[in-house]
Symmetry: D2
Subunit: 248 residues, 4 copies
């Protein structure tokens, strides 16, 4: 039976993680290693300045006083004698669409699994209600990953519309859209009179064209985006070389 | 005169930031917005669950009780009436090579600048000694970015060997190498007898081929890697579609 | 029916809090406001540099992304239309004896209740096993506080031996002992070669005389110590005045 | 020459700490061990769940990635071969009056020194302007502590009016006043629509009678309050015993 490592960024007590666990129970031996509290927005942070505590919460659930990436690292290297076959992260409370993936701890947990040599899936529900729908999506993908052959070291970013399973219109392979830059911060005063600045939400999407994850979700489809972790902009290597030649 | 926004992840008091500031003084109007303490490894984290304090430390230096990405967001949206022309992050104390860029706060600060619509440069010294060398590299790139035309919304990851300027062999355009997965964690006991786990360093590089940043640094060259922030693995869209068709 | 506010420092998911809740259910209307994660050792810290999130976890349990003192402040000022009659903190996983009370978040939660004008009880189990015993102690004290008259704004620090209820030898009113100074730190190296220092545990008690809380626990009694929050050393006012007169 | 250990809670870069250092230079051999960032309000927190990094910033200044109490513990046990003779904490940016002392990191640093067996002084400026005045007060107390005999393991909480030295009316030995309970929290909404709660400042003092620290400062005097760290409410031992006898 396959070994499935589950994690998330909403913390070990999050309902989305519980829903993922229950949906995947029939599909392998499960271990859960998740942050001891909400670490949304942790991105790929790894904790290097202190050692981590790994707490056994029984029933195969472990918590770590660290980030989602810390959890996957310890889940792969510390909890089992053997490495997991697949890492599944989520179900995130809220979507991870477009440039969200750069900031998301859910996606980071999957990326860490992929960096450590496994295929990985990041699962997000674009809302907070129909976790069961997202659980069924996760089960169908994980089941298929077993019977079909997912290319090795695949990294899939999956977003699920927040609606009943019967209202899901299908699955779409998408590219990431782009939310665009956030608005100006919201300036407030604390009760002692000091200025503070809240980072503002993005007002409207800069790119949500028909082949994007935004468009798929909007139309009621599950969005599946293959991700890479190589940030080299290969197409620009030549241009930068030209620019550098002129410089020197 | 151009407006240059400087940030880093080692904190507002770091010598590398001071060296960058001094090297760039002749090249524009400078503003520094940096974390109030060491935030190395913060990756792209943005602080969304609390408002941020922006402290004016005089002489154009501001500190923020947040992450490198927070600093750039506030630097772009809060400190100036006009947007900066260029974001420069660093000089990091230590290299940001290969898959380091996924975890680095220095690179994240530059990425945030790029996401907000500007060109950006991440500067790292592969060591902790010759900040002056890295300062000269920064000055030559920023000077060139003015006279030549850096493509809009460029994002450059620059690493500098830790040696005197006279021993720098030149500049190379590179792709990112790959450190490979970290080793097993170092298990220790705290003084109260509880197990703890340190994330281990990477033992040896998995990909440091001749065109990588690793190889350039090893040979004594400044390494310049153009980065992208679109994580879509476009080449895999077709494969994943095939896999999905078989699934459904 | 009385309104009982419960909190702790081990976090909203801690078994000791659950045991306290169940033991006190018959004694009043309960509200639980506790940290979202383990905040042991937080002492009296209040969070003043950011606003707090209060999350309703259903069944009268709320969590706060802050310290134990934050929780009691919000529990008194935000959760109910009326103020609670009594604040009970715990059941702490481990004892709070002697000078522990200066560092303990459990005691701090009770102190905050007392500072806000209520009587308060800090409950700790000197171990991690017989929470049920400590629950029965809490129930008997809270029940008595109703029928008898606990002096207004009392603050009691209660420690319970980690043994079955049948083996508890009785209740003792005690003064705080004194653990004495901690030993030298344990010096370790992190995996990157940097020195780090763990604060060491205390080797042996400096004052555990017969009337102390240490002695009561050692002998199998529940220890009850009345605490004050006025730190003025009234007995020294005269001496310091003499010293000051000589100075000037 | 005496060994003086300096710390604070505003962080190693704070102007108040610098002013204290300069004022005390003639009075002994100085070592500074202070938090790497602002840790105001840390109270007596000690860091037990991770090892601490102690960074030598040259010139006798060290920083610690921990709390004020952590700093004093490491300053006493790690930086010198011999123990310091006196611990001085501050100069805090703002007063520590009345029940502030329960929450203050400045006072906690002094308390930690006293718990480790030394006399200790907590210095606070009731404002942010005349640090030099507070420096002169510190110098006169430390100078006197040498020539006269401060009782062993004394703990003094010193507050200085924010005015020029020439306008200081003298020194007063005081007891702590009492600010009283904080007002209701300030409820705000974050930019994503979620409720948040700021802890409110105290509206007016509940006890600022003529012999209190509040009154001394108001009248332009330096306030000196001897503190204790034994929280036992000795006067209540008898009453609680009576209450307990009725209970059982």
């Amino acid at each position: 039976m396959r070994r499935l490592l589950l994690s998330n960024d909403d913390g070990v007590h999050a309902p989305g993680l519980r829903a993922l666990y229950e949906a995947l129970l029939p599909y392998g031996r499960l271990r859960v290693v998740a942050p001891d509290r909400d670490r949304s927005g942790a991105s790929n942070s790894l904790t290097l300045d202190r050692p981590l505590a790994l707490t056994d919460r029984s029933n195969g659930f472990y918590s770590v006083d660290g980030t989602p990436a810390d959890c996957v690292y310890l889940g792969v290297n510390g909890v089992w004698e053997e490495r997991p076959d697949l890492v599944i992260s989520g179900i995130n409370h809220g979507g991870n669409l477009g440039d969200d993936v750069l900031y998301s701890g859910t996606v980071a947990a999957a990326m860490e699994g992929r960096n450590l040599g496994m295929s990985a899936i990041a699962m997000s529900l674009v809302g907070r209600r129909y976790f069961e729908t997202a659980g069924r999506v996760a089960a169908s993908l994980v089941g298929a990953a077993e019977s079909l052959s997912l290319p090795p070291r695949s990294l899939l970013n999956v977003n699920v519309p927040d609606r009943p399973w019967s209202e899901i219109r299908g699955f779409k392979v998408t590219r990431l859209g782009y939310r665009g830059p956030a608005s100006k911060p919201l300036q407030v005063q604390d009760p002692r009179g000091q200025d503070r600045y809240w980072i503002a939400p993005v007002s409207r999407n800069a790119d949500d064209g028909p082949d994007t994850d935004f468009a798929a979700i909007e139309a009621g489809f599950v969005s599946i985006t293959p991700l890479q972790t190589d940030l080299t902009r290969h197409a620009a290597l030549h241009d930068v070389q030209g620019w550098l030649d002129a410089l020197t």
